[in-house]
Symmetry: C2
Subunit: 240 residues, 2 copies
DNA sequence: GCGGCGCTTCGGCGCCCGCCGAAGCGTCCG
DNA sequence: CGGACGCTTCGGCGGGCGCCGAAGCGCCGC
């Protein structure tokens, strides 16, 4: 095979990048950014390719250990291997140009608007609502962006008040900045971002729209976010 | 052309990933991780391809805004567009499998050993020495890894004592973890990592070996790193 | 046990893209 | 001013890879 250009050795960047260099595989990964496990056929339908094609792509992604799989009966479930992979994909997405052609159909446009409003980004919140929450946290002195993102002492106290305990013990950063591809602005990710999102689900602040990544802020959520962060209803309700 | 699979829209991940999905282009980026500007022919020779091929690759990388170029007379200098790109490449490299075939020739092996010992990684220090410094900083309570990397109050004081002032005002994280592809262990990057590396150069602690990314720790440097961090000579001198 | 369904394997097709060498252009230097 | 040098453009070649449909396999439910 190609023993050609191995002049300069080092990590084999290309073989990882190649996995994401195909539109269909990239679409799979973007879909899996919702943090859930999808079946092979779901992904195939999602991207409009044959089942056999999807199988080949999934084989590649799994053997490249970007995805992990779990077999259940006649189903093959896959999900992102770990938060590092999600982070990598987010970074790549942030660097990518916004796609020139906005969706054509009316339903696609509505779906996109819902996503732009509020959605999960792997395990934290993104979209207009995600950014608004990050901004509010910053304005109230709970987050500090100067010289790198940092959770302030008040921020830690605020989390404790709400009984939100980020998973610790791992090397995962407590707070991390994630660039939003709709808002083009950074918002809160990392262990704290994930814990906050988890809390929002369990406390009924937000609910998923169907089985998509899009979420809506419930009445309870609007009240809570107003009380705890002073967020007005306008930014929490999707404009129709 | 291919209006085929645009079923699910979003950021065009694939077009960025494709830039890094080629061995030669990836090699260029890895070389440029030294943070310096290279000419087109230097890169071509480095990867063993024709000048015309290098031109085409550089056009792609520049128009994809991973690289920026600067024309000087008959030379075309390119470098990584910004620290975000460097970070992306580092993340990708950390995820990539170590290349199965270690370099064959004797000189290549020596070069690799020098790199494994101490080198620059874009703008901070990596290799055994880089990891040792990070470990020493941690052991002395200047860095805290629990629940995400953080510079402690003692850490800030330590920097001030040494007159090291990280560039601030930018959104760049002060401290960031970077996974080393030789040591397979995280070490210090980010604005503080860069400032520390800059200081090491200007204070004469380290010098470049020729024009490569590899560096050696000088006698002055060994003394300073022993005084300030308690690092023993053994880890600072390359074993021959 | 039989049909349906999800997934996989395999051939084959076609396009994309990375490579080169030859020729040409602009810059620098003697 | 002429030659060397760095870079670019272009045509052409070859291999890799993403796609499909047909056939096959295994699990499930009736």
């Amino acid at each position: 095979m190609s023993t050609r250009h191995t002049r300069a050795s080092g990590p084999d960047l290309a073989c990882v990048a190649r996995l994401l260099a195909d539109g269909t595989r990239a679409g799979f990964c973007l879909a899996l950014l919702d943090g859930r496990a999808w079946t092979a056929t779901e992904l195939a339908r999602h991207m409009g390719v044959a089942a056999s094609t999807a199988t080949e792509h999934l084989n590649a992604l799994v053997s490249g250990s970007l995805l992990v799989e779990e077999r259940q009966g006649r189903h093959r479930y896959v999900r992102l291997a770990d938060p590092h992979v999600a982070e990598l994909i987010e970074n790549l997405a942030a660097m990518a140009p916004a796609r020139p052609t906005p969706p054509r159909s009316l339903s696609a446009a509505g779906r996109r608007r819902a996503l732009a409003h509020a959605r999960t980004c792997y395990d934290h919140l993104a979209g207009a609502v995600g950014v608004a929450i990050s901004d509010a946290l910053t304005a109230r002195g709970l987050l500090d962006w100067d010289g790198g993102l940092r959770l302030t002492a008040q921020g830690e106290a605020w989390l404790q008040d709400l009984d939100i305990a980020p998973t610790t013990g791992t090397r995962r950063p407590a707070v991390r900045s994630c660039l939003d591809w709709t808002e083009r602005r950074p918002h809160l990710a990392g262990a704290v971002g994930a814990a906050l999102c988890r809390h929002a689900f369990t406390a009924g602040w937000i609910t998923r729209i169907g089985t998509t990544r899009a979420v809506t802020v419930t009445a309870v959520g609007r009240q809570a976010l107003h009380d705890h962060l002073g967020l007005p209803d306008e930014v929490l309700q999707q404009q129709l």
